[in-house]
């Protein structure tokens, strides 16, 4: 049995995966000794704990150190069910409960609290041999969730365009889920405020921007380390929300944060890497403008917005090898895309949602192009060479820690901050960019323009509004119109900031460029900008959360059309 994504893989002829890391918690020393031996016989890696408190400490210390927890129900320092709750929320690990008491009520309680199994003592070897199934199942479900989210209508575009999209997604495994969910929600309820927990299946709460915002606010108020679903629920004061909803959301939130963290690390390592690989030296900068999923008209919404500026900018700017500066300005998206097309899959081209900020643009590194905030989409889509980097970079801006504490409400600072986070290389550029941006845009605008992936949602709605107002031309055609004007600016900026996307024009372009992209998230802002505005991790971090149950913390999510529903709405209203 081989686990696809897990670290332990049983290529032996054993029936179960060896090396499964199990944490056993039981106050009975005799049972602890026996279980340890039994699990070792199963070729699992065992850690024992006599106290729930110790177990939690161990789990927290090594977040990824265990695959499954087995705990007794009755323990002196903490109720086993409580431990179960904590573990589920904080670490999202499968937990098996044990007890000598097999009363139905107890078993039911266990299941209600989220136990994936309830074993009766004395426990048999054969029961322990099979515990790996819980770990496996969980992973499978996660993947499924993500995939379901993926299938959003707007995503389709992206999807069709990029094969990579799907592949890249799984960085964290959560992205797709939210994407798909979002899509469904969109389909169902054309309205931005999907707060209809009852209509969805049980616990399928739609975490709208507002809701998520409340959630994050509550979390921050309580203190990230001290949160608990009950506390959050109380603070949020949302009558129809249940503790379970909050609990599962919190779980995802934490996962998201940790993923962001990871990603930003990865991203850093990638900056500037692929850049050279791109034939055209264009790294599509995902402006991270996801196309608004929700009710945006198709043409607008299609997927990500291709930032036309991007095209023009890229070209004008740098164009390293393009030499087609002029063309840039007036180059229609498609054209610009053409330049990039090498890297972009056909479907993308049409969509033109790529903001292709030429990474090569001057100094901007691949980082720039990775503005796509974590959107794996662009990466996937067509950036043949950039894909990973892009996604990675995207993640960067989302620094979970900071961001989350700041609770962003769409503010430019948020995005900028996020972007800033790890963009050391491109920092200088971005700063400049940012300043430009700031000048031209109000924070809200900024936020809009730069879809902070996660935050985007929030931002977008807000930010985009102004933009959308002005832009009627969210269509491709307009882009070209706007581009020329901006190209200069873009050029200037690009050169300066290396990003090639002048803020001023950026915003405009942004508006214009909201092509129905394939869903290239226009992350550029996020990634490359060191804009402080974008730095608000919270903002970014939160965006994905608005997905239904499965917040897509991944940047990749951002590009899911589903994710951007909020954004879209704002943008296109």
């Amino acid at each position: 049995m081989v686990f696809r994504e897990s670290g332990y893989c049983s290529s032996r002829n054993d029936a179960f995966p060896t090396g499964l890391r199990v944490l056993v918690v039981d106050d009975d020393p005799t049972w602890l000794k026996i279980l340890e031996k039994m699990l070792k016989k199963c070729s699992y890696e065992v850690t024992t704990c006599g106290l729930a408190r110790d177990a939690l400490n161990l789990l927290r210390k090594r977040k990824d150190g265990y695959d499954i927890v087995i705990s007794d129900v009755n323990m002196p320092d903490m109720d086993g069910f409580k431990l179960l709750e904590y573990v589920g929320l904080e670490m999202d690990l499968p937990v098996i409960m044990m007890s000598v008491d097999g009363e139905t009520s107890r078993v039911m309680k266990g299941v209600q609290h989220g136990a994936c199994d309830y074993l009766l003592k004395p426990i048999r070897m054969k029961e322990l041999r099979n515990i790996w199934q819980h770990v496996f199942r969980k992973k499978i479900n996660e993947v499924r969730d993500i995939e379901s989210l993926e299938g959003i209508e707007s995503l389709q575009m992206t999807r069709s365009g990029c094969d990579l999209f799907n592949d890249g997604h799984f960085l964290g495994g959560d992205d797709t889920t939210s994407g798909r969910k979002r899509k469904d929600a969109d389909n169902k309820q054309e309205d931005r405020d999907l707060t209809d927990p009852s209509s969805t299946k049980k616990a399928r709460v739609v975490w709208t921007v507002d809701l998520h915002q409340k959630f994050v606010k509550a979390v921050n108020q309580i203190g990230f380390d001290k949160v608990g679903p009950k506390k959050i629920l109380d603070l949020m004061n949302v009558p129809w929300l249940t503790r379970e909803n909050v609990a599962s959301h919190l779980q995802k939130y934490r996962l998201y944060l940790s993923r962001l963290q990871k990603e930003s690390d990865i991203k850093n390592s990638f900056i500037g890497m692929k850049h050279s690989d791109t034939p055209s030296n264009y790294s599509t900068v995902n402006l991270g403008l996801h196309k608004p999923m929700k009710t945006m008209p198709d043409d607008v919404l299609n997927g990500t917005y291709s930032f036309s500026v991007n095209n023009s900018l890229a070209q004008s700017v740098d164009l390293k090898d393009q030499g087609d500066r002029n063309g840039i300005t007036s180059v229609p998206m498609t054209e610009a895309k053409g330049a990039l097309s090498k890297d972009i899959p056909d479907s993308h081209k049409t969509k033109s949602s790529q903001m292709s900020f030429d990474n090569s643009l001057g100094s901007v590194d691949s980082g720039v192009s990775f503005a796509s905030f974590g959107s794996t989409t662009p990466a996937r889509c067509s950036w043949t060479e950039i894909p990973e980097i892009q996604s990675k970079q995207e993640y960067e801006p989302l620094q979970p820690e900071d961001g989350f504490n700041q609770l962003p409400l769409p503010e430019t600072s948020m995005i900028a901050k996020e972007v800033n986070r790890k963009r050391t290389e491109v920092k200088p550029l971005f700063d400049e960019y940012r300043s430009n941006l700031v000048e031209h845009l109000s924070p809200a605008d900024l936020v809009d323009s730069f879809p902070v992936q996660n935050k985007t949602q929030m931002l977008k709605s807000q930010v985009f509004n102004p933009i959308s107002g002005t832009k009627s031309s969210m269509k491709t055609e307009d882009i070209s119109q706007n581009c020329p004007a901006d190209s200069d600016f873009a050029q200037r900026n690009l050169n300066a900031a290396g990003i090639g996307v002048p803020l001023a024009s950026f915003s405009e372009d942004l508006q214009i460029c909201w092509l129905q992209g394939d869903g290239y998230p226009i992350n550029f802002a996020l990634q490359d900008f060191d804009c402080s505005e974008y730095n608000d991790p919270t903002l970014i971090a939160e965006t994905p959360l608005y997905l239904y149950d499965a917040p897509r913390f991944d940047h990749e999510h951002l590009f899911d059309s589903s994710e951007y529903y909020a954004i879209d709405q704002g943008l296109f209203t």
């Binding site: 009975d28 000598v100 003592k121 004395p122 048999r124 070897m125």
Partner: protein, 150 residues
């Protein structure tokens, strides 16, 4: 058929423990866990059990001295004790624990006291038998394999 007389004696003792209901299937599970890495596993576990459960017995004893009985507390202690006893397959002791808990639930103090006395007796008997068993086991040397009680 075991040639070594010690081993034969061991087998007889073992069979008797099962036949008389002192031990159940769980004990066999323990024997099956014993291997080269832990050649005295069963004895270690049993020793650990008696040491730890003695503490629990004491708790219950003290609780029974306080009148009126706190049945919840008593039930809690006995729950722990029962869980522990199940670990080595102490069948009779476990049965007494279950009975004790029934009395607790129905608030029958008399029943609790009576059952507890019986439980202590079974507990003491089991301890003696197992101590003797392991003594022979140590002398007999490692058993070939664990065998199920017929």
């Amino acid at each position: 058929m075991e040639r070594n007389p010690m081993r034969r004696q061991l087998q007889v003792m073992r069979k008797s423990l099962f036949d008389q209901g002192y031990l159940d299937e769980q004990f066999v599970q323990l024997e099956e866990l014993q291997d080269d890495a832990n050649p005295n596993f069963v004895e270690e576990v049993v020793t650990l059990y008696f040491r730890d459960s003695a503490r629990l017995i004491l708790n219950i004893e003290q609780a029974l001295e306080r009148k009126p009985f706190d049945f919840n507390k008593l039930d809690g202690y006995m729950h722990q004790f029962k869980g522990s006893s199940s670990s080595i397959g102490a069948k009779r002791v476990k049965a007494e624990s279950t009975l004790f808990r029934e009395y607790c639930k129905s608030g029958n103090g008399e029943g609790c006291m009576r059952t507890f006395q019986q439980l202590k007796k079974e507990y003491a008997t089991l301890r003696k038998k197992l101590e003797a068993y392991f003594q022979v086991a140590r002398q007999a040397g490692p058993m070939e394999t664990a065998c199920r009680p017929k």
